[in-house]
């Protein structure tokens, strides 16, 4: 339970500590936020789990949900990568270090890390939805967490190399011996030494084994749609495939009804679901 002074609609006061563009076309901007109040920070990190999201709040612009793109061990900040779309995100892109902003969270269930212990993680992402998968990978990288999992395989696709997020860090993953990283872009570019092609095809090529493994897929709907059958073909069961849903949301805490699908509220019961759980929901997605 997170009630921030008994009012879960009240944003915590935060400040931007770092703000930088993530892509060369300036459509993606990362904001790292720190807490104005120590008590909020302690409460946040007691609850935070990769795969969760927060409602960022700017008075006059409203609120919008964003997945957390950092692991707790990285520091006392919370990272978000924001794609510029409409009125909220355009304003968020003008924020600089030192600017105040509000935040509610962490919200949602996050990844079922306990249930995944001992398993191989096949992490598949594309576009800005890779943000929470980045948080997941960072979480697993920590020396205290790494022994909890078997192999770590990451497939990450972006349309162009300029749109690849977290570049410098991901570059260093290629040198790690405790994971595999397969990066892809849609069309060939000079100096690109990794895969070229769409994520579902790269997954087919990499062909991760379903043995004692779970696959986590987050990306644009079209990517997810075509990746799921590939995984099924490789032998992954619906119970071992996970994805995160990006529904329209308002309250984020299961009250306003907006994100309701069947018996679930995506904000509260999700956003992370196994394919099996999704198959059991009515076709209202």
């Amino acid at each position: 339970m997170h009630d921030n002074g008994h009012n879960p609609y009240k944003p915590m006061p935060m400040h931007v500590v770092r703000a930088y563009y993530e892509s060369n076309d300036r459509s993606l901007k990362t904001l790292e936020l720190v807490f104005d109040r120590k008590a909020d920070q302690i409460e946040f990190f007691e609850k935070f789990n990769p795969g969760q999201f927060c409602q960022l709040s700017i008075f006059g612009k409203g609120e919008a949900p964003f997945g957390v793109a950092s692991a707790a061990w990285e520091g006392d900040f919370v990272r978000f990568t924001i794609q510029k779309l409409g009125s909220f995100t355009q304003y968020a892109h003008t924020l600089q270090a030192g600017d105040p902003i509000g935040m509610r969270g962490p919200l949602g269930n996050g990844f079922p890390l306990e249930a995944w212990k001992g398993k191989t993680l096949v992490i598949i992402g594309g576009g800005c939805a890779f943000s929470t998968l980045y948080a997941l990978t960072k979480h697993v990288h920590h020396p205290q967490n790494r022994p909890d999992y078997d192999q770590l395989i990451v497939v990450y696709g972006a349309r162009t190399s300029g749109l690849c997020m977290y570049k410098h860090d991901i570059q260093s993953w290629h040198q790690r011996d405790d994971m595999q990283i397969h990066q892809a872009i849609d069309v060939p570019e000079e100096d690109w030494s990794h895969h070229v092609g769409y994520v579902p095809d790269v997954v087919k090529e990499v062909a991760p084994s379903p043995k004692n493994a779970v696959a986590i897929v987050c990306g644009p709907p079209i990517m997810t749609k075509f990746t799921l059958p590939v995984l099924v073909e490789l032998g992954f069961s619906p119970e071992s495939i996970f994805t995160s849903l990006e529904k329209r949301m308002k309250c984020g805490i299961g009250k306003c009804g907006r994100c309701n699908i069947g018996s679930k509220y995506i904000c509260k019961d999700g956003p992370v679901f196994s394919l099996k759980e999704l198959q059991e929901l009515p076709d209202d997605i």
Binding site: H6, Y9, K61, G62, K255, G257, R258, G262, D284
Partner: protein
């Protein structure tokens, strides 16, 4: 304990309560009744068989409510809402009181408590007004209620012509009525008779056994196309519904307020998504959502139907769509498919 409250004394009694409570009672507004502060008119309209048009859920969950006030775009803010006195709502129909209890399961759920609902609801007192002659549009008995049901009530009135009998149901209410004369043996028997007659007058409106399973089964069937054909998508059925709790959150820039407004799944924009994709693009999917939520998803959540049979959606739908008929057709629909 049962007391007798003479009708001519009602306004006097409410005036006395008004010192300690914010008293609300049904009052005549044009051709309808509506719950309004008793303070303003000092009148009470308990002579209508029909329920109020505007649902009393608005007293705990206003149609538009300030959540936070802020000074500058990013800067400081304060919480809104400082209530002074607890609310006393007089003359609530049992279906609407049951709706309060259903809404409690959403707004007071264990994981997150809604502070706005809680502040108003917590120490409120709800005095019910049982239905001696339920109108033809009501169907509480079909969905687990009754015209004299006690759920969500602190006391319940029965109309005895010149007086009301008051059955006290909680300790909170005992204090309010203990100075009234107790009912006589004859009066108690009369009350029992009225209540029994009222309940017996209500025939089942549609088949509820197995209804949830049937609705789940026919989710993808053409059934929904036919029933939603004439729906205008006006949303009246949801705004006036005492159990509909959806809300939108918006910032009012001029007033520097973050507010919430009742929302409705009957509008296209409600489910419109970024990509242009809309999982509920027509009235067919939206009507399905409204009915499925009340008659299937509520059951998944708390094991109860999310409709109290108040009949508002039946009375006020501009094209006369009747939820009872829709559900009856649904319960028969599967058997037709099975036969085919």
């Amino acid at each position: 304990m049962m007391y007798i409250l003479e009708k001519k004394k009602v306004e006097q009694v409410l005036s006395a309560w008004n010192k300690a409570f914010d008293v609300y009672a049904p009052q005549k507004v044009e051709n309808y009744t509506q719950f309004l502060p008793f303070e303003k008119t000092k009148t009470v309209a308990l002579n209508h068989a029909h329920n109020t048009r505007y649902p009393p859920k608005a007293l705990f969950f206003p149609q538009s409510e300030i959540m936070l006030k802020y000074n500058s775009r990013l800067g400081r803010f304060e919480e809104s809402g400082s209530k002074t006195k607890p609310m006393l709502i007089f003359g609530v129909r049992p279906c609407d009181a049951m709706a309060f209890s259903l809404m409690d399961t959403v707004f007071l759920s264990e994981d997150y408590v809604d502070p706005y609902w809680k502040a108003k609801r917590e120490d409120s007192i709800v005095i019910g007004f049982g239905c001696s002659t339920p109108p033809q549009t009501c169907f509480c008995t079909t969905v687990g209620g009754a015209p004299f049901s006690h759920t969500g009530l602190d006391a319940i009135l029965t109309d005895l012509d010149k007086a009301f009998s008051v059955q006290v149901l909680t300790n909170k209410a005992e204090n309010l009525f203990k100075n009234l004369p107790p009912a006589t043996e004859d009066q108690i028997n009369e009350v029992k008779k009225i209540q029994r007659k009222a309940t017996e007058s209500m025939a089942p409106a549609f088949q509820t056994s197995g209804l949830k399973q049937k609705l789940d089964l026919i989710f993808e069937s053409p059934y929904w196309e036919t029933i939603a054909e004439s729906c205008l998508g006006c949303g009246i059925c949801t705004y006036l519904c005492p159990t509909c709790f959806c809300f939108d959150i918006v910032d009012e820039i001029q007033r520097k307020e973050r507010i919430r407004n009742w929302d409705t799944c009957m509008f296209r924009i409600y489910s419109q998504e970024a990509s242009g994709h809309n999982p509920r693009p027509s009235n067919k999917e939206r009507t399905r959502q409204r009915l499925m939520h009340k008659y299937s998803y509520w059951l998944d959540h708390i094991g109860e139907i999310g409709c109290t049979g108040c009949g508002r959606c039946v009375c006020y739908c501009p094209v006369g769509l009747d939820i009872r008929a829709m559900l009856q057709t649904a319960s028969e629909y599967e058997s037709e498919v099975a036969r085919a």
